[in-house]
């Protein structure tokens, strides 16, 4: 009796499992699911919404060209709402419930750190498209943004060069979290190696969302009286608008004290009147103003996509560096899957090394054979009156990433990576 009931129970259970599982298996057969994990609400929505858009556009583009391995890609979009623990939860849902083959997502370093254990545990694949502080190299992650030696160090070298103004004193200004603190640690060590003394470096942090920069600007003014000064800003998110406004109103011009920013792109400048900011700098691996056929096509595609999908303010959308990195990442993943002939995580990881892609930046980018980072060119641009950047300096060729900065103690043994 007892056994029969258990038998019926298990029969019903397995039937229902089969019933749930069946359509899933059917759809899995003719499409490949890919996850998009970007905040669409909360503080980071400002930056990340555009990345979700560009991911969907790229997936549509690949599908229109015949898909991958003869199958169409099916995007699964989730919203982790700028909530770091929720990132991990949503990542788990994407991998184990929706059975996606790969996830494109995250912006802040803290969100990436929060999803890492999930990707390791379930052995899945994450493409991370934003410049970051380095000091990390995970088998399950491909980093398509810049490492510090592909952004921060060249920008600082430029500021010290006669062309960049020959700065002798440096203000390291950032938002108070892991990315600015680590970057500034690297930069301080780098400046020491160039003979800049501690008394010529001023380091300041503000909380997330800080909006009153009067004191800091006054301090910068005071500091800059002591010699040719440049500001290196790792201020993230919203705070940039009040910072640049205060800078413009205080009459601190780029010709006197140039500010080079690592987290300010075309998208962030959309909320700012850039006329007083002429000549301030940003360092990236791509600018919307770069002129080449790939970029022209990329911008046109994105504009058309924005219009067709009723993105708010579709006629003024811009492209920026993390968007380009997302675009490159999805295309490289597609190429790797085609080379591997499967979406199996380990085989795709093996196939990723050495992939190349003609990117909108105008360079052919290569995925490094061993360190999961792209070889990227470094561009330094000046803010123009229409919110774009005018490239004033660029590397001759893409640079290999050093995820473990040689300027941090204890990384000596990792330089081969």
């Amino acid at each position: 009796m007892q056994t029969r009931r258990t038998f019926i129970k298990s029969l019903v259970l397995s039937a229902s499992i089969a019933a749930i599982g069946m359509p899933m298996a059917a759809s899995a057969a003719d499409t490949i699911k890919v996850g998009v994990l970007h905040s669409l609400s909360g503080t980071m929505a400002i930056s990340e919404t555009a990345l979700k858009n560009v991911a969907l556009m790229t997936i549509e583009e690949i599908n229109a060209a015949g898909g991958v391995l003869g199958k169409k890609l099916e995007p699964v979009v989730v919203d982790p709402a700028s909530n770091w623990p929720l990132f991990a939860e949503r990542a788990r849902q994407l991998i184990s419930q929706d059975k996606v083959s790969v996830v494109f997502g995250c912006w802040t370093s803290v969100s990436r750190k929060s999803v890492l254990p999930v990707f390791k545990e379930l052995n899945s694949l994450l493409f991370y498209p934003v410049q970051y502080e380095g000091e990390e190299l995970e088998k399950n992650v491909f980093y398509t943004g810049a490492a510090p030696n592909q952004q921060a160090i060249p920008a600082t070298e430029y500021l010290m060069s006669p062309e960049g103004g020959g700065a002798k004193r440096f203000v390291l200004l950032g938002t108070d979290y892991v990315y600015p603190r680590t970057t500034n640690k690297i930069l301080r060590a780098f400046l020491h190696s160039k003979g800049v003394k501690d008394s010529d470096i001023m380091e300041e942090y503000t909380p997330f969302g800080h909006s009153d920069y009067q004191t800091i600007i006054a301090n910068i003014k005071k500091f800059s009286a002591g010699g040719k000064t440049a500001v290196i800003s790792t201020i993230n998110g919203d705070s940039n608008v009040p910072f640049y406004r205060e800078l413009g109103n205080a009459g601190l011009k780029a010709t006197d004290v140039p500010v080079v920013a690592f987290s300010v792109g075309e998208e962030e400048l959309r909320g700012v009147d850039t006329k007083p900011l002429l000549g301030h700098l940003a360092a990236w691996n791509y600018f919307m103003s770069v002129e080449n056929p790939e970029n022209k096509a990329f911008i046109a595609k994105y504009k058309a996509w924005a219009k067709a999908n009723n993105v708010p303010n579709a006629d003024t959308v811009v492209t920026n560096d993390p968007m380009e990195a997302t675009y490159v990442g999805i295309h490289m993943w597609k190429q790797a899957v085609e080379k591997a002939g499967t979406t199996d995580t380990d085989k795709v990881i093996a196939a990723m090394g050495g992939q190349t892609f003609k990117a909108p930046s105008g360079y052919t980018l290569t995925m490094d054979k061993t360190n999961h980072h792209l070889h990227k060119p470094v561009l330094i641009g000046e803010v123009t009156a229409d919110g774009q950047f005018d490239v004033v300096w660029e590397t001759k060729e893409p640079i290999r990433a050093q995820p473990w900065s040689p300027f941090i103690k204890g990384n000596e043994s990792k330089q081969g990576l």
Partner: protein, 539 residues
């Protein structure tokens, strides 16, 4: 007579330069077209002394209409390509010209060159701007020009600036007497950078212990003059800095006050814990944005006044949203703080998402009108930004208006009556429901005005209100619930307190210290700075 003639001549020259290019020295032309920044900057400096026909060239380089074509330096003017050396128009389209990149160094040299040119021929205002530019950036090549200009200058303010600019160059002179005069003149400056210039004059070379190194400056009297000048500048700078800190404290206070005033009515007077208060600020800022766009589209000539037109709009739009909130939700929840807290929090989420759906998740761009941009130099060494000055004034204006409304009008009297004793007010014929609605509407409208002010200084985005809700409650609770005076003193007190702290400990620690201070203060004095007195205070 002579000067009139000279002006005519300059004018003709300028006109001629407009049609056919005046001829510049060939080495200057090659220098301008050089890809080497040092050569270009030297050429630009040479332009300053090349005379007035250099002005259009500088203009062209500045606006990016300068480049090279076929190995020659050319200017693009009215879509024609003009050879700089010969002045002839080339048969090339502007698209073929490779524009030469300018960077900050070139731009600084251009600004200096332009100032040098303006010094002799500009109007009073232009000469003043030029002198200000030259005070900070000079080059030795300008010394004869500065001497000439300083000698001829009639306006005292400009002459003082020129003397400072001249002194900076003469500090490098080989004549001790000239160096002494320069150091003495620089003592009149209020610029901290001058101290850095003078420092070497009073320092010794690195020596061994017991045997100090030789003075970097050999002349005793120059050393004394420099030391005196440094002391004078330091005194002036320290004073200016204290005034600036007090002002930035007042400015922060005025922003806190504008954010909190609306809450001082809805929470302070009516007792509704309104979690959607921040979103009412957002509504006011978005209304300002709409007015700005309306002006940009339809009345571009009056664009500078859009902020004034936005004042009533922001008030009434936010008030309307507030009244709808009150009528549909809050009036059923009076006296139930927990429910009204949850309900208003829900409303805040609805408003944020509504803004995100209609306007997109991006921050909106609001341009400061011209009269709010830039700064004013109150006295040498202290310049205050206009937008903060105006907002400080605006907060006082709103405060006075609100105070007059509460104390001097019939509606204000009703509001006070209803909050003090609702049943009694109802008994004597005050329409309590209507008064609640209007009071909440006014509180919301004032929040809208706060949003208008914030839009000129901070971010405008769907979630902007979230950043102010904590600060607003902080101000109201610290000041004492139910008191406008409390909110005012708390806002300005907190502003100045946190600015002095910030200068001392940095922004992150200052924020923590302020919160710790408030917690301790509330522990000690739960009723806030100003406590209500009288019978109803016990309720």
């Amino acid at each position: 007579m002579l000067s009139t003639l000279f002006r005519c001549w300059v004018l003709t020259l300028a006109l001629v330069a407009g049609s056919a290019q005046a001829v510049l020295a060939p080495e200057v032309v090659t220098g301008l077209g050089s890809s080497d920044f040092n050569e270009r900057i030297a050429a630009i400096e040479a332009l300053t002394v090349a005379g007035t026909d250099a002005a259009p060239v500088i203009e062209a380089i500045e606006s990016g209409n300068f480049g090279s074509f076929d190995g020659r330096a050319v200017i693009v003017r009215d879509s024609a390509v003009v050879d700089l050396a010969s002045g002839e128009t080339l048969s090339a389209s502007p698209a073929d010209v490779t524009t030469l990149r300018t960077n900050n160094r070139v731009r600084r040299a251009l600004a200096t060159a332009k100032a040098g040119l303006a010094l002799e021929t500009g109007s009073d205002a232009e000469r003043l701007a030029a002198a200000e530019q030259l005070r900070e950036n000079t080059s030795p090549i300008l010394l004869p020009l500065l001497e000439r200009a300083a000698a001829n200058e009639q306006v005292a303010a400009i002459r003082d600036l020129l003397v400072l600019a001249k002194a900076r160059i003469q500090l490098e002179s080989t004549e001790p007497a000239e160096r002494r005069a320069a150091a003495e003149a620089l003592g009149g400056s209020s610029d901290r950078a001058v101290i850095t210039l003078l420092k070497p004059l009073v320092e010794r070379e690195a020596g061994t212990p017991g045997a100090p190194g030789a003075w970097l400056e050999s002349d005793e009297s120059v050393r004394a003059a420099a030391a005196e000048a440094i002391a004078a500048i330091e005194r002036r700078v320290a004073f200016a800095q204290n005034v600036a800190t007090v002002f930035s404290g007042l400015s922060l206070g005025s922003i806190l006050l504008l954010a909190a005033l609306g809450l001082a009515i809805t929470f302070g007077v009516m007792g509704v814990i309104n979690m959607a208060h921040g979103e009412l600020l957002m509504v006011g800022a978005y209304a300002t944005y709409l007015v700005q766009n309306l002006f940009r589209l339809h009345f571009p000539e009056y664009f500078d006044y859009y902020v004034l037109a936005a004042v009533p709009v922001a008030f009434f739009v936010a008030a309307a949203v507030g009244i709808v909130m009150e009528r549909t939700v809050l009036r059923f929840l009076y006296g139930r703080p927990l429910e009204s807290l949850l309900a208003t929090w829900g409303i805040s989420l609805v408003l944020i998402q509504a803004a995100r759906v209609t306007f997109g998740p991006q921050n909106l761009e609001l341009t400061n009108p011209a009269w709010m941009a830039g700064s004013v130099e109150v006295f040498a060494g202290l310049s205050l930004p206009w937008n903060r000055i105006w907002i400080l004034g605006f907060s006082v204006f709103v405060l006075v208006l609100l105070w007059a409304m509460m104390q001097k009008t019939r509606l204000g009297m009703f509001v006070r009556a209803v909050t003090q004793n609702r049943p009694m007010a109802g008994c004597v014929g005050v329409p309590t429901g209507r008064v609640d609605m209007l009071a909440f509407g006014i509180g919301a409208g004032v929040a809208g005005l706060g949003g208008l002010a914030l839009s000129q200084i901070a971010n405008v985005g769907p979630a902007m209100g979230q950043g102010y809700i904590v600060d607003s409650f902080m101000v109201v609770v610290l000041g004492g619930v139910g008191q406008l005076a409390g909110a005012v003193s708390a806002a300005f007190g907190l502003g100045i307190f946190s600015k002095f702290l910030e200068g001392w400990t940095g922004a992150v620690i200052a924020k923590i210290l302020v919160l710790v201070f408030i917690i301790m203060f509330i522990q000690k004095r739960p009723q806030g700075i100003f406590a209500l007195k009288g019978r109803f205070a016990d309720q």
